[in-house]
């Protein structure tokens, strides 16, 4: 479904600030795979996400989605195959537009936009049903401005907007990191439900090791622009936070540097 072939990316090449973000990433996700990605800050997780989504282009290597080479496609063209939720709850929705208008925008991700009315009665009915699955009462607030929603509500809405059109690939970029524990838990649960419901091929970046272990069928650990550890199936199910930290130390021979990773475990 998603194939990354020898992806490399260097920022500020040839200057004092040169940073090798990705060193030959190879990764293949089969349909229905739910892969969680962990790694310290600067490991290259976000760069990888941006390269898959098309916001950045790789220096070398190719991105394939569903048998198509999309490496040179612009972000908005590629978006037909990709659903994405960002870390910042403000990033995934338009604050001055209503919930239903935001949903229309998301609904048209896979379609050509026309000069026909955006919010029709049929769509509104469908939005209402879909929103009910969130159990947040948003179905009664279709005409409320999204800017009035709380961070958790906005992130739940973003998640719905990214997934209800069943993308070929779902990218979750630390989408619970900006929420307090209770809301993060709720959005995590929703993620689990929605991914299972549509059997979405998902790549989720997280700083929360416990979350990375709990969700998905595969786990990869990145460091210094490389995949340094991966586990799937039974091995993944038996992982613990301690095991992961040990694994990291064994491979890298250094203390897992990120305080956040330890704190949030």
């Amino acid at each position: 479904m998603l194939e990354l072939k020898r992806i490399t990316k260097v920022f500020n090449e040839g200057t004092a600030d040169e940073k090798i973000a990705l060193r030959g990433i190879d990764l293949t996700l089969s349909p229905g795979d739910f892969v969680t990605v962990i790694g310290s800050n600067g490991a290259g997780k976000s760069t990888l996400m941006n390269i898959i989504a098309g916001r950045l282009s790789p220096d070398t290597g190719e991105v394939w989605i569903n048998g198509r080479n999309v490496t040179t496609l612009k972000e908005h063209v590629r978006a037909r195959y990709i659903g994405r939720v960002f870390q910042d709850p403000m990033a995934g929705t338009a604050p001055h537009m209503t919930i239903e208008e935001n949903l229309v925008l998301a609904y048209n991700r896979t379609k050509r936009r026309t000069l026909r009315l955006g919010v029709t009665r049929q769509k509104r009915e469908w939005f209402r049903e879909t929103l009910q699955s969130l159990h947040l009462g948003l179905e009664n607030r279709l005409t409320a401005k999204v800017g009035l929603l709380s961070g958790g509500e906005r992130q739940a809405l973003s998640l719905l907007m990214a997934t209800f059109t069943k993308p070929d690939v779902l990218l979750l970029d630390e989408h619970t990191a900006a929420l307090d524990p209770a809301r993060a838990e709720l959005v995590t649960e929703l993620t689990k439900q929605i991914v299972a419901q549509h059997n979405l091929t998902t790549l989720m970046v997280t700083h929360n090791m416990e979350q990375a272990i709990r969700l998905g069928n595969r786990l990869i650990m990145m460091d210094g622009g490389q995949v340094i550890f991966s586990a799937e199936g039974k091995e993944k199910e038996e992982l613990t936070v301690e095991r992961l930290l040990e694994e990291f130390q064994r491979i890298r021979g250094s203390q897992f540097a990120s305080d956040r990773a330890v704190l949030s475990s």
Partner: protein, 334 residues
């Protein structure tokens, strides 16, 4: 006095079309587009030259609209493809248009006094109907009878049609994407909309309205002048800001009403101000600036006072031992 007010409403309705264009770029696209000062004159020039050349004035006005669209798309291309900052794109286009407008007219001023214009045609057709007599009869108790109601009524209808089209457009799938591009640009690309083209199209549309308004003003005033667009963006902004302050802008439909209202109120304030003996026509720009400044500041002061009173009331309620608020929610809040 009444005649001056009547004239202000007529002109206000025509400028309202320009203000709707400014609303589209400034508010909906969040793009401070200074092209307006140039494209207004482009519209006036194209219409004036075509009318003098013997073209049908309606066709000339339509051509002005297209010329404005072209100018707006160029600004959009400068910004999106040329990666030039929005303000600078507009300024560059504005000064480029100054020369282009001179080229279109061939001189700095084209008079239209003896020509058949949209205004003269409509007035002539209107006078066949005898509506003037009816309206004047109805208002006979006021003792005020204008030259003709033709311009006021026809321009009101025209402005409402433009408003209706704009309202409808902003509710279509493309319109929703356009508004989202102005609200949260990075997010729009992730929902497979091409923000570059949306901005180019939006600016084209905005300047089409501005140029159309310019064409009508030229025909109403009886001339096109290369300097008639100076400060037009400020007049547009004044209309938008006054309108929003007075009438609110919760939805697009509401905001476009407000912009039209704002354009008319601006003209009325200006007409009233110019009746003050001390003030001269040269003070118009200063008055405009003062109007915009007060429209920006007064609502804030009001809101602050309202908030202060609310807090005071709350404090008194607490002292009396009443419950603070009756918030009720049936859903878990996250």
């Amino acid at each position: 006095m009444w005649t001056a007010m009547f004239g202000s409403v007529e002109v206000g309705l025509i400028y309202a079309i320009m203000a709707l264009g400014v609303y589209l770029s400034f508010r909906i696209l969040d793009f401070p587009d200074l092209t307006v000062d140039g494209s207004f004159v482009t519209g006036a020039s194209v219409a004036a030259v075509m009318i003098v050349g013997g073209a049908n004035p309606f066709a000339a006005s339509a051509a002005a609209l297209l010329a404005g669209f072209a100018a707006g798309t160029l600004t959009g291309l400068l910004h999106t493809k040329g990666k030039i900052n929005p303000l600078l794109s507009g300024i560059l286009m504005m000064i480029a248009l100054y020369s282009i407008n001179l080229r279109i007219m061939g001189k700095s001023n084209v008079p239209l006094l003896q020509q058949e214009t949209v205004i003269t045609k409509i007035t002539a057709a209107w006078q066949q109907t005898g509506f003037d007599a009816v309206l004047n009869q109805l208002l006979s108790f006021t003792g005020f009878a204008p030259r003709t109601w033709a311009i006021l009524c026809s321009m009101a209808v025209l402005t409402l049609v433009v408003k209706g089209v704009l309202d409808w457009l902003m509710k279509t799938e493309v319109g929703i994407a356009l508004r989202a591009a102005g609200d949260n640009k990075p997010m729009v690309a992730s929902f497979s909309a091409n923000t570059d083209w949306l901005i180019v199209f939006g600016l084209g549309l905005s300047n089409a309205l501005v140029a159309f308004s310019g064409a009508l003003i030229a025909q109403y005033g009886g001339f096109s002048d290369v300097n008639m667009g100076v400060g037009m963006i400020v007049i547009g902004l004044a209309s938008v800001i006054i309108g929003e302050a007075l009438f609110g802008a919760h939805s697009v439909v509401r905001a476009t009403w407000a912009v039209i209202g704002g354009a008319i109120v601006y003209r009325l304030i200006l007409a009233l101000a110019l009746r003050v003996e001390f003030l001269e026509t040269g003070d118009v720009k200063l008055i405009t600036a003062l109007i915009v400044i007060s429209a920006l500041i007064v609502p804030n002061v009001w809101a602050a006072q309202k908030e202060k009173r609310r807090k005071k009331r709350k404090a008194q309620q607490l002292e009396r031992g009443e419950p603070v608020a009756g918030a009720k929610t049936n859903y878990k809040s996250i």
